[in-house]
Amino acid sequence: MSGLILLSILGATTLISGVFQHRRLLLPLTLLGLVFTFLFVMGEWSGKATYFADLIAPYNNGMLTFDSFAFAFSGLLLFFSLLVLSLSQFQVQEDVDHAGEYYSILLFTVLGAVVMVSFSNLVMLFIGIEILSISLYVMAGSRKYTAPSNEASLKYFLLGSFASGFLLLGIALIYGTTGHLDLPGISSYISANASSLPFLCILGIMMIIMGMAFKVSAAPFHNWSPDVYEGAPTVITAFMATVVKTAAIAAFLRLMLGSFEAVQGWWTILLSPISILTMTIGNVTALYQQNFKRLLAYSGISHAGYLLIGIVALTYDSPSYNSSGAILYYTAAYALATIAAFAVLLVVAGNSGDSSISAFNGLAKRDPKLAVALTICLLSLAGIPPLAGFFGKYYLFALAINKGLWVLAAFAILNSLIGIYYYFIVMINMFLKEKQDGLPSTSSPASKVVIAICVILTIIAGLFPEGVVQVLK
């Protein structure tokens, strides 16, 4: 709750100070604000900081529910945004005029994300998604005079709004059949007549799944993400790949968990093929990929596939294995590694520069530390112990095996094998290929810090996953 308020205030402030040309203030202001918000959310979670909560609570008629799920994911989102936004200078320094707008819009995006992970009414879900999407349509196109950026923006916009059309239809059908928009109502209706669900309702669930699948870029609704990731400015790509994906998957999980859990039986049958398809397409397509941003996009798709396992094998009662915990951990692991990877890309190739893998050639000689950092992140993404990525995978696989979803587990294993190849190719480029000259290496203290934090957390989270796992127990 405080998250929403502080974020909106922060956004407005940045906007205004942008208007009044206090550009130098913007970055510190934003970061400080985010830190503050983060602390506040955490405090609120632990019940220490309740001021804003009390302020709003009376007006919150079951629109948002701030359970530990919401807090955990909001915290995660805020933290990632903090990391990504610390890289902003790469974006800002190339169009200085819109610095204020840039920050404010991103902050609003974060707000949308927070709404998405804490909604308990489909209205809020819809609004949250739209805030997120609309802001991102803009940010994707924020480099106005370059073709890729434009193209990315338009594609994202058209496909996104088309998808939200379906999402809406789904919501409408659900509403029509269940007569409710709030999760408790829906779930009570569905669990009441889970056996004889009117087909319209099934159709609605289907449409909603489709809409969410689009947001998490699950096949066959994934096509937007590679193009948009490639076209968008790298910082924004990083933001989309981490914050947005996390928010989307969390919202998806919250939705399924909160409303449709009763009929898990059949949408499992529907989702597991999607999950398999997603990870397979993502991995296989990435194998022959020369562009690092696209590569990460495809890897993002495959990871979405893994994450879907957490939803397919929906478990919430087991003390030590619940989907929320698994997905929380996995998104954390995935996002940390990805942010670091993008940060390295920013350092190596700049915000707009050529993002082909060859940009990393000979990085080990140019900047060994950077190379090692990226290697660790790639290993984590590939799921090599003892890094965070491995434990996340273990957690999800364990869920699947626990539920006896053998086919899913088999495909997951197979895919995590395939996946290794392209991560390692990048690594090999860094260490074995000779560097070709003329590549800008615009390092910055911020990026160094971000990379360091990500790498360290990746290792620590891998060695001691206990904490994260326990959060949602």
């Binding site: 819009i105 809020m124 802001s135 009117p198 319209l200």
Partner: protein, 170 residues
């Protein structure tokens, strides 16, 4: 066959017609006009459904603001000169087929499941529904729906800023 049914069917026919024209006309300008027409039909439907407030909003926001915006852009970019880009026949067939299929499947679904709990609806409608009235809507809007209402303002803000950022030539 009561009066309302005739009205409904007429409006339905018109709105469908409008929609189809929007989709099929060659020139953007025309499709805009057809779209406005469709929107008006839908507004009328709202009236029949006793949702006056929405009907008005529909007219103001959609038929008014949004469509004007469209027109404005079309004029600004002078898009009308370039007629709709030629489409391969295959595309048309494919589009029609998939659209039709979607329709078929969904409608079949409705038929299959009888209806979305109609009987309750009818029961409700013996006593006239007044929820569509501004007063009622307003109450619930500012009571239960306060937060979405506020949040959506953020949406507006960011959309506005975004539009400015993108649209402004600098």
């Amino acid at each position: 066959m009561s009066l309302n049914q005739i009205a409904f069917l007429g409006l339905a026919a018109m709105s469908l017609l409008g929609a189809i024209m929007v989709v099929t006309t060659k020139k953007p300008l025309y499709s805009i006009l057809y779209l406005i027409f469709t929107f008006f039909c839908i507004a009328a439907h709202f009236v029949i459904l006793n949702a006056q407030f929405l009907a008005v909003v529909q007219v103001i926001v959609y038929a008014g603001a949004i469509m004007v915006l469209f027109l404005f852009v079309v004029m600004l970019l002078n898009l009308n000169k370039e007629s709709e880009y030629r489409k391969p026949a295959l595309l048309k067939v494919a589009a029609a087929m998939s659209g039709g299929m979607l329709l078929l499947l969904t409608v079949a679904g409705v038929v299959k499941s009888g209806a979305g709990n109609v009987e309750t609806a009818e029961a409700a409608l013996y006593t006239q529904t007044t929820i569509g009235y501004v007063s009622n809507l307003g109450l619930s809007l500012f009571k239960e729906y306060l937060i979405p209402f506020e949040v959506v303002s953020i949406l507006f803000l960011s959309a506005m800023v975004g539009a400015v950022v993108l649209g402004r030539k600098d």
